[in-house]
Symmetry: C2
């Protein structure tokens, strides 16, 4: 991994002076094209050994490029808002929007490397994290990002020399702390840990670029040229699909599926409804005030056809909680800032802190439902969304969130009945639009999309709950009961 | 203040049952219109005594309206990200976008009331805060917001009774804590403090609405009707200007002004430039690493005509700092999410934490420069912007930020020369656009806008620094030197 970065690469002053002006002009042009193109975010990871030139490299990039469209993201101790959410949340919120370059001084690799060296992370936890990182980076690349992961390497002797040189110069002496010298003692350990992690995350879509850090000119030119080449290559072909696409989904040959097997005649009597509603609302109100819930969070996802009763079910949940504890997130078309980010970014920003609840009225499943059926995104994009969503939900669950997903199913006849009823009601918010009627025409296409969705994203930890919703009251009680039972189980099994 | 809320207002069951369905339908319709209209944010403050029905009122609103377009904002202890920024930052970030209703359970009034009761805030600090709040609310109203401030009142006996009633009911007993009973002891003190604060913030644009809290039905109906009336009135006349507008600015009769008095022939020799640049960059690099800077932050604002050299000056500042410590914020057209908020919101979101630096390449002054000259906003809007900006900058300075504003001035001939030079350069980012030439035609209109801006927003704490920028090097040194001197003085005078 590191051998080719121990050859003593050097660039002499004359060559450097000759190469820089041209490189700089080309980088500025590429940066301008990137901004104009507006489709590609650039993620540059600057990592490696202390004294190997991480800071210097960032400075050189700022000197060569237009600093107004660069951001440097530094990650010191997590803030309490970050600690109360999944590990990746702080990196998601720092992602550069399309058209910009984000330089990560410290990244999702810093913590695993540090914790592994200090013996704070088990081998298996590390393997999980590595797997998660690989999938995260694949998602970024599939979303059109350039991901460049630089690792600056020094030999042990080289590192000692660099630290001494930095200390000698009064302008840089402040950068060398006791901690850096301490770290030198663990050089071999870092090599082991980093070697392992780099090897396991050296994927075809986001390979590591190991650069010898001893010579400033060599390092700067190398980074500049790689950045330039990557920008040019990507800008020349922005539609290129980075990873191969999963095969299309096939319906069952006997025509039976989880949706058509639902017994939509299920009902509850008015009397039982009152009792059950009060019972489960009372229960839910207790559960979210349970001291153990302070270390968990609750995420409820509602999907279903138009008029399936999502809103009504959500109100019954809200009524059991203090308005200060939960938020309802209605999902409509993404905003401009959201469109400049990977697909899941707009959901990450609404993830609840510990002790809080987020209820999604429609969700990230839009990708594999409306976007698939209406052709709003390419087949390759919705096909890869299944595993991206699974990764996303498992990340949430792994951080202590209880994620509960409901599909509310009504029959085509029931929907027609409700549409007609709504047309009679005078509340403006219940007006039926042309679009509602249009969606209804695509019932079969949606049916297939729903089956595929359940098939591919109902997992052991985050299963789908299919709700027979022709009877609104039955659906509401089932929803409340499911939430209470899932939450209660989760609070008992504290992780 | 509270007398009319001690009359024992009551609504009987029958009247209530009759009134609610109609009110509810009307509220839903108004909420729908609000959403469609998309121009008005609604800020509802729910405050008052413990047990006076704050939580119940929020629940009723959720029951009556569409909860998907309501948000409840609760403010418990500030997070560390919030504590590291000015007092109002957490409220700015919580503001509802246009078309939505934000219910503030706790608000900018909670801390002053609490701290005043506990004796943690001086009378004069409170007066300052009150003044700030009044100006903040005026800004919200001028930006088109509806601001409804509810105070739920109970007599001392009434409060005791409510707490006892809540404790008796097992469904609500959990809400009464020892702390509530403790607070009862300070009833008179709260009355005093709240009475004073309510009186001082009882402005024509955002008056307090004191509601008797003892009877649930009376309280709910009152709040619902006031909310409905406010929504309807505002929706009927969205262009209404809430506060009278300041008179237009007049140029000096002798034609002399701060800009034309600048000596643009000022220059620095190449040799002196090298020395001075190194000197002040070195100094700046020390200052931002000074331990005392950990409790301050630095905000640099750059304004100036096209090609005045803002970018070059900013690079020279950046070069003196670690890229992890500062961010450059280039101000372009606002995004969709930013347009849904008050004008200053998009700048608040970039305010640095303590120990950090934000450099603005163009800024909030666009309001009184380009937006004024191009007619992008109404005269009334840019006229009120002067004092809103002063309030904003004083809020930042009051929280420990060092705010330094530069106007880079070049002559009309110098600009032409630079435009022509740029047209020869091959870097794409330096291309001169039609717009640059068009702006140039408006030189005189800009000139007047700049003079007004300096006149009205150069304050003792946050003065403008006018920079003679025909010689780029001279300008860069002046900028760096000014930053160092201001920062050094600030660090000496720790507050």
């Amino acid at each position: 991994m590191f051998e080719s970065a121990e050859l003593g690469h050097k660039i002499d002053k004359k060559t450097y002076r000759k190469a820089v002006p041209e490189l700089r002009a080309a980088l500025l042009d590429a940066q301008y094209d990137l901004k104009e193109n507006g489709k590609i975010p650039v993620v540059v990871l600057v990592s490696g050994q202390d004294g190997a030139g991480k800071g210097e490299t960032i400075n050189v990039l700022y000197e060569w490029m237009d600093p107004r469209f660069l951001s440097t993201l530094a990650f010191s101790a997590a803030t309490d808002e970050e600690r109360d959410r999944p590990f990746m949340w702080r990196y998601w919120r720092a992602l550069p929007p399309k058209g910009r370059i984000g330089i990560f001084a410290g990244s999702w690799y810093s913590m695993p490397i540090h914790e592994r060296i200090e013996g704070l992370m088990s081998k298996s936890a590390l393997d999980q994290r590595i797997d998660q990182i690989n999938r995260f980076e694949a998602m970024l690349v599939n979303e059109g990002a350039i991901v460049l992961k630089f690792w600056f390497h020094l030999t042990k002797e080289g590192q000692k020399k660099r630290l001494r040189d930095l200390e000698k110069d009064p302008r840089t002496a402040w950068r060398v702390t006791k901690w850096n010298w301490e770290r030198l003692k663990t050089y071999d350990k870092l090599q082991d840990v980093a070697g392992h992690i780099l090897r396991m995350t050296n994927t075809p879509w986001a390979p590591w670029i190991v650069v010898e850090g001893a010579d400033d000119r060599y390092r700067s030119l190398t980074v500049g040229k790689i950045l330039l080449d990557s920008l040019k290559a990507k800008l020349a072909n922005t539609d290129q699909q980075a990873t191969p696409v999963a095969p299309p989904v096939h319906p069952n040959i006997d025509g039976r599926d989880v949706i058509s097997e639902l017994d939509l005649s299920r009902r509850i009597s008015a009397k039982d409804y009152d009792t059950e509603l009060a019972r489960w609302q009372g229960k839910l109100s207790e559960l979210v005030r349970d001291p153990r819930f302070k270390e968990r969070s609750l995420i409820c996802v509602f999907e279903g056809a138009d008029a399936a009763g999502k809103g009504g079910a959500i109100r019954r949940i809200g009524a059991a909680m203090d308005a200060r504890q939960y938020q309802i997130v209605p999902i409509a078309a993404p905003t401009e800032e959201e469109r400049a980010q990977p697909y899941l970014w707009r959901f990450w920003r609404h993830m609840p802190r510990k002790g809080r609840v987020s209820i999604f009225d429609r969700s990230w499943y839009g990708r594999v439902l409306v976007e698939r059926v209406e052709g709003f995104c390419a087949e390759a994009d919705w096909l890869r969304a299944y595993s991206e969503i699974n990764d996303f939900e498992h990340e949430l669950a792994g951080a202590g969130a209880v994620v509960i997903k409901f599909w509310l199913q009504i029959s085509r006849e029931e929907q027609l009945k409700r549409f007609k009823e709504r047309e009679k009601i005078e509340f403006k918010r219940f007006k039926i639009t042309e679009e509602d009627w249009r969606n209804r025409e695509k019932w079969d296409a949606y049916h297939r999309a729903i089956c595929d969705m359940v098939e591919r994203t109902s997992t052991g930890i985050v299963p789908w709950t299919l709700v027979e919703a022709n009877d609104k009251n039955y659906a509401r009680v089932k929803v409340l009961k499911t939430i209470c039972q899932r939450l209660e189980t989760a609070l008992k099994n504290k992780e």
